[in-house]
């Protein structure tokens, strides 16, 4: 886990979106009152290669905005659960994080990045404060609630569910009823929350991808530069199933 430098001593404060549910009257005011941790500086955004409001005018931002719009159009601007996987290891986390960050740029929407990439997690990097629990802990321990694993990130209006500490038997965990409930729960709780799931590579983790594709609304397949042959691409598309696949994103990395 990466240590971020900061002048302020960082609290390991869990932010529960559930906590503020009762008080809000409108989604906008609710979002405005979302408790936030310290936000990333432009340099931190750049180091993480994540788009931010200061990127206005960059090609990157334009690409992700375009992607966001296409996906939202797919569900008629209703919220969705989108799985982002890649045809070869690498490249999918970048797309997932940036997609989530781009959605969160809209002040009337929030995004939640679920890091289901048990084998090379990335989401922890987005947390200014190190997380203690994560998705795997939630799936393992029934006493853990959703509010325990959702963390505020350094990006405004974006929440993160990190992988957690309990990574053994990932396939089984993902294939559990609790996982299914988790997805239903997070999607249904807020109508303006868009959920992006960062999944492991479709090339290496067949079972996970098949299950997650079932659980999510649709899948975005990332094709990283110089890593995928046509055969591998077609194999990945077959695993996901063309009915789940929203489309392909080419990533120059």
């Amino acid at each position: 886990m990466r240590e971020l430098s900061g002048s302020r001593p960082l609290e390991n404060k869990k932010v529960s979106p559930v906590a503020s549910l009762g008080k809000a009257t409108s989604p906008a005011s609710q979002i405005a009152r979302m408790s936030e941790v310290r936000q990333f500086t432009a340099a931190e955004f750049n180091a993480l290669k994540v788009v931010h409001a200061g990127d206005e005018g960059s090609v990157h931002l334009k690409v992700f905005r375009d992607l966001r719009t296409q996906l939202m159009k797919r569900t008629d601007w209703r919220n969705f659960v989108c799985l982002v996987t890649s045809a070869a290891p690498g490249g999918s986390s970048h797309v997932a994080v940036n997609l989530a960050a781009t959605i969160a740029l809209d002040k009337s929407k929030t995004s939640l990045l679920v890091d289901a990439n048990l084998y090379s997690p990335f989401a922890e990097l987005l947390l200014p404060v190190p997380a203690q629990l994560g998705l795997t802990d939630y799936l393992e321990d029934p006493t853990t609630g959703i509010e325990d694993i959702v963390y505020a990130s350094g990006i405004p209006r974006m929440r993160v569910v990190p992988v957690g500490n309990n990574r053994e038997g990932g396939t089984e965990k993902i294939n559990s009823v609790r996982m299914r409930d988790f997805f239903t729960e997070i999607k249904d709780r807020y109508a303006d929350r868009y959920i992006i799931v960062d999944a492991p590579s479709a090339a290496d983790y067949d079972a996970e991808i098949r299950i997650l594709a079932e659980l999510c609304d649709f899948v975005v397949l990332v094709v990283p530069y110089g890593k995928v042959t046509e055969t591998q691409l077609n194999a990945s598309i077959d695993k996901i199933g063309s009915e789940h696949l929203a489309g392909v994103v080419y990533n120059w990395c």
Binding site: A43, G226, S242
Partner: protein, 509 residues
């Protein structure tokens, strides 16, 4: 597929790969650059001497024997290349430029010849196939020039000698032929003479004439015989008639004689007696009777009174004529027989003469042909003599040195300075080329254009995320760049120093 997009993608990918493997690229560049620099300093200098020889395609024996006998073109199949690279000539050239070759072992000589063959080149002027360009390549100008000069000299000498030899051979050949034909001609002449002496009379025309003459004579003789026979027959019949006449005349004469006697008696009696005397009367009646008989004859045979004298000579004449005719006939017949015999003989002769004539024609033809060839050969022999004389005086060469071997003043080939200048380009071309080949051949998708083409039906390409260099990556890159810049500076210094230090080697003077 969008071709422009594809090319753009490939260029981007190329850049990416070069940056990704920058360490390897820098290493390869450095190695190649230094190698090229080293090569430029040790670039072999060589000199090429050139000469041009033209080939006169005609040869000596062909015009000499044109029309009489077909002969193979002497040098048709031997190209100059074969000649120059022939072991015979090369040995001589080697001996001329390196006298020590004579003491060398066969192995060493073989090596020398291989070396010589490698440096010697024989080509044709593209504009004129008859002009042959010889060139010799050597590390030194002197050796290039001297070797090529030796090659050209030896070649020309050899060709001259060869031509001389060929001409002599042709001349000798023709002389031999002339002698042979002369002998044959004499032989034919002898035969003809012999034949003629054996068959002096044997002129066909003469025999023919004689046969005609004989036939003519025989014909005439046959007619003469017929005539004689006719004459004999006529004479005989006349003789018959004449002999009859002679009897009658004798009777007539007897009667006339009796009448004359009686008349005499009467006349005497009348002198004595009267007419009425019985004797006289009797006599008168007798005379009367005789007159009657004479009249009868006269009327019956009517010979004139004048013919009385010639009656006997006619008969005699006729008889003479008959006997003459008979003698003639006999003579004629004998002559006829002998003529027939002669004709037979002539016919036989004619047959023999015809056979002789055929033989004579044969002999004459043989003689004529031989004489004709002999005369021609004689004429050609004269030509050969002239050609020989021409060759002896060195005229009518079939190979000429158009351009004598040149002394090379400048080294040939790619100058070292070019290698020196090209070194950095060559060095960068290799990694870029390898990367380009890798990018194009590698089946992994490196192009958006290619990806959108390969995507299955119904799956959209939602977006293309461009490469984003992070500040951290930039920092790393900067470290690399410092190293690379350092390397570049070192290489540039080496580059400049090389030119300064080895100016004489690199720059042609």
């Amino acid at each position: 597929m969008d071709a422009i997009q594809y090319v753009k993608d490939i260029v981007t990918a190329l850049k990416r790969e070069l940056i990704r493997y920058r360490a390897a690229v820098a290493a390869l560049f450095t190695v190649l650059f230094l190698t090229a620099l080293y090569l430029s300093l040790h670039w072999p200098k060589y000199y090429v001497s050139e000469a041009a020889i033209t080939k006169d395609v005609t040869n000596v024996i062909e015009p000499l024997l044109r029309g009489t006998a077909e002969v193979a073109d002497v040098n048709q199949n031997e190209t100059m290349q074969d000649l120059i690279f022939s072991r015979r000539l090369m040995d001589r050239v080697l001996l001329r430029i390196k006298p020590e070759v004579a003491q060398m072992s066969p192995d060493q000589v073989e090596l020398e010849i291989i070396e010589f063959r490698r440096n010697m080149a024989v080509g044709y002027d593209p504009a004129n196939r008859n002009i042959t360009i010889l060139s010799f390549t050597s590390p030194t100008a002197d050796r290039a020039y001297e070797t090529l000069k030796a090659v050209v000299d030896v070649f020309i000498e050899d060709r001259m000698a060869e031509k001389q030899k060929v001409t002599y051979e042709a001349h000798n050949f023709i002389s031999d032929q002339v002698i042979k034909y002369k002998r044959r001609l004499e032989n034919a002449e002898e035969k003809l003479k012999d034949f003629k002496s054996r068959n002096v009379d044997a002129s066909e025309q003469a025999v023919k004439d004689r046969i005609a003459q004989l036939a003519n004579e025989i014909e005439n003789l046959r007619i003469a015989i017929q005539e004689s026979e006719e004459k004999i027959r006529t004479t005989r019949s006349q003789l018959d008639i004449e002999s009859q006449n002679v009897g009658q005349r004798a009777r007539h004469r007897t009667l006339t004689e009796r009448r004359r006697l009686l008349t005499e008696q009467l006349d005497q009696l009348r002198l004595v007696y009267q007419d009425s005397y019985p004797d006289i009367v009797a006599l008168k009646s007798q005379i009367f009777e005789i007159d009657q008989a004479i009249d009868e004859y006269k009327t019956e045979y009517s010979f004139g009174a004048g013919g009385q004298q010639s009656e006997l000579p006619l008969y005699e004449e006729l008889r003479k004529q008959l006997s003459t005719a008979e003698v003639d006939l006999k003579t004629q017949k004998r002559r006829y027989d002998s003529l027939q015999e002669l004709l037979e003989k002539e016919y036989k002769l004619a047959e023999r003469v015809a056979a002789n004539q055929a033989e004579l024609t044969d002999l004459t033809r043989d003689y004529d042909v031989t004489r004709k060839v002999y005369e021609e050969m004689l004429a050609r022999k004269e030509n050969a003599n002239i050609t020989l004389a021409l060759n002896d005086e060195g005229q009518g060469e079939s190979y000429k040195v158009l351009e004598p071997p040149t002394y090379p003043l400048q080294p040939a080939g790619v100058p070292a300075i070019l290698i020196y200048i090209a070194a950095p380009f060559l060095a960068i071309a290799a990694p870029v080329g390898i990367a380009a080949i890798f990018v194009v051949i590698d089946p992994r998708l490196r192009s958006v254009a290619l990806l959108s083409q390969k995507l299955p039906e119904g799956i959209p390409l939602l977006g293309v995320v461009p490469h984003r260099g992070t500040p951290l990556a930039a920092r790393l890159l900067r470290k690399d760049i410092i190293l690379l810049t350092l390397l570049a500076v070192i290489l540039i210094v080496i580059y400049g120093y090389t030119l300064y230090k080895f100016q004489s080697l690199l720059l042609p003077l």
